[in-house]
Symmetry: C2
Subunit: 649 residues, 2 copies
């Protein structure tokens, strides 16, 4: 099959195409299952009560079965006397009859004997031998649960197409049904594909990456109630791949692969789907992430070739595969839980593609804020920290700051964190949280300036910042004025961290300071613009009389966003030197040439200072144990005399 | 053990007592599980990244790896030319290096070769043999996903105590972890007890009832993630019961029984718990339903003796057992999902007990209404139709009409029905819904007048009513004026149903009309006050000159709430005659003495008349197929000339 240029279709069009080419998607058939196995499946027939419930008139209390007419007018002052002529036990069929002037003792749940129309509770009765005195009248029907009063024979108790929960079991079992008919869940076989994949648990060869898609997809579809089998990584050989898929599609209703869908893979999946006899109906989606997607049908069976990037695969699973599986299970339309939230800053999105952007929710005082996760479709961290996603339609150019959007949630319930910290990333925060025993926190890394903006919006409980004022050489205290937050925030001193040049172990290229960066044999790795560390390097270069460093220093334009990425680049030989933290040198076993010390502080809005968790956090900064733990866990980190003290205003 | 009078405790006190007597409830220990089995469990340790993710710098597109400096200024007009010196395949470790003036072809996901700092997308390149022209400049780092940019070695990626979902698996697998440490879910053994119990699937002996509690409890605790085994109905013999429980408590962390807790059962469960060596710490709860509850501890193990009535057992499971199990699983405090709703009518509740009242939610235009389900703690239908429950504290006397309350939901997501019908119960409604193919409807039976009130509140889309105006002998059209709804509602004609006297097959007592009800050998079964059928009987008795029927007619005060309950009473010999529908006589194989025909209509608020489902429903009333189906399914039911037509105004 030659590679042809095909029209991209939208998610909605793709679903319609599948419906059309399979002659409609719906329940696959009916199976009978024991009721305990029916949970999360869908009832395939009306449940019509075969018996009454309760099946007989029963007493709802412990007491005496009487004729109400016999005790009319009974009171504390004028009790009525009756003769006890027997007792009805629970679970028995009484032959005794209550005649005028008599009563029969009865237990909760026991059958009301003939003749009685009311039960008097034990506590209104005094007994001596077989005589009782009744101190309270009782109306006809009182304390009796009538046969069929809850469910009558022939009632449609639970309707066809109801999704079964534990509560429906009360009715099934109570009516004597130990098995019920449900729609057969689809059999789904899942594969991962890609030469670059290695199975988790094995050693990772250089250039390879662990497979994660197969696990996520399997777990997601199992949560939906489907019968899913994950068959691992497909062999990277056309013939073997074809054989395997050809066999599997016979056993399955749906077959899902991830990876090998982009042009760089030579459209392997398209060929395989085509060659096992399936008709390819989608050659790419007009959505981002998720574009490189193949969909094929073989009779009523559906084959999905999802993209290899984790977020892309997951989004297509949510938006195309899940609705199809729901229909096959009889679950009716998927109603994705959603909430309204506001975008905290202007965000470019859409522009010709339907774009799905994962977000983290933040509980502002008055509304939810949705912080976009911009780590890209290859990110796995983005998947685990996101609460849901927003949709930018293809004709959209951007979201405005504070624009209200729908957030489609990944879970139906969302729980606000105890503490939200937004700002510059620092491994020290984890040490504080541990010390403060704060478990349910949320950390959002948007840089120091992003942290100040979050404080301004009221999104953050705390913000971490290490912004140096070059005029005064002080950290952070110049910011409130700059942000227009002079009377709105407090700044608390955090801790210091040692910054320096990272080089390979034993410093093979004998680097002494930043002036060595000019050498011909040296390639550096740089931090992103706006990071505190980048500011520091540029300042030092200027002090050394180095202007236009992008022309003079090799690797100056090679930017990474975290301290640890600098260390990795040096460890892997992609660079010879870079500015980072001593803590990173220790962690990655590199050499460290000290440059100086920078200060990392915490910002809090005045009205949040009474918050229990903010308090715990700031108190921890002062503690002796925290100080020890910080130095132990993060070499080069130190608390200061003022740690945990207010330094502004 | 003698039966002693014990202090009832609140649910909160009960949990505190358990905590105290077991020296605190918490995770039971740590187990390692394959990641696919970790879903719905709780992480028992911080997941610290053992590698970078991605593990190397990789291309995010198909294209060419270049030195960005070589193509600075490239444009459509002034393309830059480079020599292609090789290709990097996905999954391989390239040894090739990009030197000035050269480029290397690269696939999505492949490792960026040394020397390159940017990837140009294929679409901005034209190639001829090993020469390429690049028509667009590319910045350093463009289209490269840097090693560790998503997750860096040493990052705490997922924190201890996180509840694991499919999304966390992306991180576990992506970091190469095929197993993780989670808290061991508690082993829970469940029994039902009670001589009256029969296992679903068996034939039901007279006086017995099917066990439903064991199934509901097992399913509910499994949904929570616990390791639950349901061991069926305990033998009704003290020694056998004791042996069984004694053995089971050795294997389990929690043991749950239902039933045998009320005084009528001789406190069997208290004795057994006591005699297996457990310390009984709760002898009854100050809550309703759920009072007869035993709780005992044996070391760290907990034994729950829950009540036998289904709603009672379920409420205690939700409010006591579930929070304990959550703590054992490390799930932190149970945050029950809740919504605000209004009570549609004054409701007595509380009065010395904490009362939990199950409710059905109704979507009013402006708010939710919570209709209490008052079918009692023995009800199983009430369990399956309820959305959640409201709590009346013990010092409360009643809820006012329209009072706003918290509804604690049984499921975290609730879906509004397509159509809400509130009013008088009628099996005909099911036939209409079937004909209209409306699946997701909600029927709430509150009687004809209750239906009119629901229309007035705006709770109901439709109300079913058969109220006779004795002055005009017309049905329903007198109601709008009475309710102050003259300009607010339409009435649509429904159908007629034949009413008569139900008697045993072949009419053994030779009953001819209601005057026979006065005979000494006749016991009747009556309908509840306010029901249309009761109104009809009273009218006929009056016409026959019968006053004070409660004194003259045996069984006149024996009231049931549904047509089918009348039939059951006659079938089981508890009564000789009663007023009901011909449809019921047919269903229960009874004889039917016709009295007359009554009309059942549907009310709709003017503004709801455009609703799609209301329309479908009313249109169905007019259809020929529906007419045939109605007569077939419900003998004595008939459509009328005006069925589905507006009769008011």
């Amino acid at each position: 099959m030659a590679l042809v240029f095909h029209k991209l279709v939208s998610v909605e069009e793709a679903i319609k195409l599948i419906e059309k080419e399979t002659n409609g998607i719906g329940p696959l058939g009916v199976i009978e299952v024991p009721i305990l196995e029916s949970i999360n499946k869908v009832l395939a027939e009306d449940v019509v009560a075969p018996i009454d419930y309760p099946p007989f008139d029963r007493s709802t209390v412990d007491g005496y079965a009487v004729r109400s007419i016999d005790i009319a007018g009974a009171s504390e002052i004028e009790p009525k006397e009756l003769e006890v002529i027997g007792k009805v036990e629970v679970g028995s069929h009484p032959s005794i009859e209550v005649k005028p002037g008599t009563a029969v003792q009865i237990s909760t749940g026991a059958m009301v004997p003939r003749g009685a129309d009311s039960i008097v509770m034990e506590e209104y009765v005094s007994r001596k031998d077989n005589k009782i005195k009744i101190y309270r009248m009782s109306s006809p029907g009182e304390n009796i649960s009538m046969s069929g009063s809850d469910i009558a024979t022939g009632d449609v108790v639970i309707r066809k197409n109801t999704q079964i929960t534990a509560r429906e079991l009360a009715v099934f079992a109570g009516l004597g049904l130990n098995k019920i008919k449900v729609y057969r869940p689809p059999k789904i076989i899942v594969y991962s594909t890609g030469v670059e994949l290695e199975q988790p648990g094995n050693i990772l060869p250089h250039g390879k990456i662990y497979d994660s898609n197969g696990y996520v997809i399997t777990a997601m579809l199992r949560e939906l109630g489907a019968d899913v089998e994950f068959r691992g990584i497909l062999p990277d050989n056309y013939d073997k791949m074809k054989d395997e898929i050809s066999k599997s599609i016979n056993e399955a209703d749906i077959l899902i692969t991830t990876g090998s869908t982009s042009a760089g893979y030579g459209d392997m999946i398209y060929k395989v789907f085509n060659d096992v006899g399936a008709k390819i109906i989608v050659h790419g989606l007009k959505s981002r992430p998720g574009k490189p997607t193949a969909i094929a049908v073989l009779g009523k069976k559906i084959l999905f070739g999802l993209p290899g990037f984790p977020l892309s695969a997951m989004m297509n699973l949510y938006n195309i595969v899940e609705p199809i599986v729901r229909k096959m299970m009889g679950k009716g339309e998927s109603e994705k839980p959603k909430v309204k939230a506001r975008i905290p800053f202007r965000l470019n999105a859409g522009r010709g593609f339907t774009e799905l952007i994962p977000v983290q929710l933040v509980w502002n005082k008055d509304y939810l804020s949705a912080y976009p996760i911009l780590s890209g479709s290859g990110s796995i961290a983005g998947i685990s920290i996101s609460d849901g996603y927003i949709v930018a339609q293809e004709n959209r150019e951007y979201f405005e700051e504070n624009e209200e959007v729908d957030v489609y949630l990944f879970s139906s319930s969302i729980r606000p964190p105890d503490l939200t910290i937004i700002g510059s990333n620092c491994p020290g925060i984890e040490v504080v949280l541990n010390g403060a025993k704060i478990q349910n926190s949320r950390i959002i890394n948007v840089g120091s300036l992003g942290g100040w903006n979050a404080i301004k919006r009221g999104d953050a409980d705390l913000a971490g910042s290490h912004l140096l004022d070059e005029k005064t050489m002080n950290y952070n205290i110049h910011m409130p004025k700059l942000m227009g937050l002079e009377d709105k925030v407090y700044i608390y001193r955090g801790y210091s961290r040692e910054v320096g040049i990272l080089v390979k172990k034993n410093n093979p290229k004998n680097i002494k300071d930043v002036s060595d960066f000019l050498r011909d044999d040296i390639v550096i790795i740089n931090r992103n613009k706006g990071s505190g560390t980048r500011v520091l390097l540029d300042k030092m270069l200027k002090e050394n009389g180095i202007n236009e460093p992008e022309k003079l220093i090799k690797g100056y334009t090679y930017e990474v966003k975290t301290h640890s990425a600098v260390a990795t680049a040096i460890l892997q030989g992609r660079a010879d030197a870079g500015i980072s933290l001593r803590a990173m040198a220790e962690l990655f076993n590199l050499d460290f040439i000290p440059i100086g010390v920078e200060i990392y502080d915490f910002i809090v809005r005045k009205e949040k200072i009474e918050n229990k968790f903010v308090n715990k956090f700031l108190e921890t900064l002062k503690s002796e144990e925290f100080s020890k733990e910080l130095e132990k866990k993060l070499p080069g980190y130190k608390t200061l005399k003022e740690s945990g003290e207010r330094i502004y205003p």
